[in-house]
Amino acid sequence: MKPQLPNVTRPGSNHTGIALHPDFAADMLQGTEEFGPTTRGGADQLAENRIRVAQISQPAGTMPPTLDVPIENLPLLDKLGARLQFERTGVRLYQALISKLDAYGTFPGGPSRADLEQIRDEEHRHLLLVQDIIEELEGDPTVVTPCANLQAVASRGLCDVLVDPRTNLIECLEAIMVAELADHESWELLATTAELMGKSDLGPRLREGERTEAEHLVKVRNWLVVASQLATKAVD
């Protein structure tokens, strides 16, 4: 089993800071005095360019041309598609997190394997739940909806942290925390959207999903608090 914290509780060989080389810093700053910018203006020019390109750009994606789906269901199907994709990825993230536990072990007050397996299984149940609801609404659960696509882009880095063999359990719990925060908020929004659309039959099922996600959030937060205390003690 590999140790959890040595990379942050004792000095290492990080080369990124300029303070390690004050002479270099002075030389480099002197260089910027002699060789200044070649173009007037500032970062606002990037903003102007973003606005210009936005004005000629099309949406990143749209909903499919399904003829059988009542058009009023489309916004909800977009959000459901996003939860479905997030839960699919979420199961994979927890599988990766379990590998971290197997490789690095846990820590006093940290998650057990059974804890993580339970969350993984709950994410899978959410996946199946959302899949069922999409089908009930006559949608296609294999569609990558616009919201699903954007959430996948937004969470791309989380997967990178989880599957990187060099990251330990605690570092990965921090990435999972970001995922759980986003997931909980999205379930809450999804339930609200369904209720606003008058889908009263969906409300309780989606609220149940939201409650489970709230439990995940609490668990991960508690593990991270304990990990933070451990790190402090290790330094002491």
Binding site: P59, G61, Q95, H124, A152
Partner: protein, 399 residues
């Protein structure tokens, strides 16, 4: 409408110009575009990069044509940029990889069906089954690491099934070299097919070599390393089909003809009006290149360019599913291997390849690891209630 390479003049080189803004056009939509549009974009990026690669190599050997090479190469670099920049940022490297393999499968199948030379067609079918397997392995990786279904990229046009297993595709370099066509007798179409596949495979190799280290998952890194090695084999294979006795100007003329043939095929099949306009412009530019190089060929070689590009091309590359053809090839030819120039039953492969393969596979076989027990399922293997019961690839192999 047929393509007549020497009759249609295109745009003269001096009028082939780009602004920097044009080099970065609005992108296609990853989720709204038809998969064939993405396939064409990826292939044409490869065709252009292959021409640029050839042009640089030629410039190192032939000082007399350096100026013309430099002028046309600059235009082609800008053409390549404009095309490659059509791909959107939300299309991840792994999703783009799925697109690359769809190109390799469908374009190779289309060319194998059109190829008049039986030996060349057999080689194309041989390579096809290997890229077909790569698709399966990458799709499994995508499902098991990211929880995504590769079919969102493929759109049902291409099967996701095991082909010739990647782990048995590793061969000694001497068993990747094939018998070249005879440039004095082969049809122009055969030459253009070979060049098209060299271009497609070379960019695939280079792409995997660039993005492979960007993956965090160890299985992903290992898989890209393994498949990049096979793509290098494929470049070696397809490149060796081109007759080395062709002169540099003959080869250059064929490269330009190949680009024109491919852009023309894109024009004929494109369904996105904005992208079609780009293909039409690029075709006109390539016809201009063909004429410039044909004039150089006639000046230096004192031969008529129509000896090389005399044909009228009647049939564009077909951008349509080849599901049944690929399955039939899979049933009949998955068990093939290679011995020197020839395709043989795998059990008849030379000892050098057996030893090479055994050594390479000795410690781990990433392509087997990522796809252990994996079968494509709409929405991924987690979409069924028992999805979690499938043993994870890593635990199965490590246990």
């Amino acid at each position: 409408m047929a393509l007549r390479l020497l009759k249609e003049r295109g745009v003269p080189i001096e009028r082939q110009r780009f602004t920097l803004r044009e080099l970065s056009p609005p992108t296609i939509s990853k989720i709204d575009c038809d998969a064939w549009t993405r396939v064409r974009i990826i292939l044409m990026n490869g065709i252009e990069s292959n021409s640029i690669r050839f042009s640089h190599a030629a410039a190192r050997f032939y000082g007399g044509i350096q100026q013309s090479l430099a002028i046309i190469r600059r235009v082609e670099q800008h053409q390549q940029t404009m095309i490659n920049w059509l791909l959107p940022a939300d299309q991840s490297p792994l999703e783009t990889t799925i697109g690359f393999e769809q190109v390799a499968i469908e374009v190779t199948a289309a060319l194998a069906l059109e190829e008049p030379d039986h030996y060349l067609a057999a080689i194309y079918r041989f390579g096809l089954l290997e890229d077909f397997d790569h698709m399966y392995r990458f799709a499994a990786l995508m499902d098991r690491v990211e929880g995504k279904d590769a079919n969102a990229i493929l759109q049902g046009y291409t099967d996701i099934l095991p082909g010739r297993p990647t782990s048995v595709e590793h061969r000694h370099p001497l068993d990747d070299l094939r018998r070249p066509y005879d440039h004095t007798r082969a049809s122009m179409l055969s030459k253009l097919h070979a060049l098209t596949l060299v271009g497609g495979e070379h960019q695939t190799h280079d792409y995997y070599m660039t993005i492979g280290p960007m993956f965090a998952d160890p299985s992903a890194r290992q898989l890209y390393a393994e498949i990049a090695s096979i793509e290098e084999q494929h470049v070696t294979q397809y490149e060796s089909l081109c007759d080395p006795r062709e002169s540099v100007l003959e080869k250059w003329l064929l490269h330009e003809a190949c680009e024109a043939y491919n852009y023309w095929s894109c024009v004929e099949s494109e369904t996105d009006p904005r992208i079609k306009t780009i293909w039409e412009r690029m075709l006109d530019y390539e016809l201009g290149h063909v004429h410039h190089v044909a004039a150089l060929f006639e000046q230096f070689e004192r031969r008529d360019a129509s000896e090389i590009v005399d044909s009228v091309i009647q049939t564009p590359i077909s951008y349509e599913p080849h599901r049944e053809f690929v399955r039939e090839v899979l049933r009949r030819e998955a068990g093939l291997g290679a011995s020197g120039h020839d395709l043989v039953a795998r059990e008849d492969e030379p000892e050098r390849t057996r030893q090479y393969r055994a050594r390479l596979n000795a410690k781990e076989q990433p392509s087997n690891l990522v796809a252990a027990g994996w079968r494509w399922q709409p929405g991924g293997e987690l979409a069924i209630p028992t999805g979690l019961a499938v043993p994870a690839a890593a635990s199965k192999v490590q246990s």
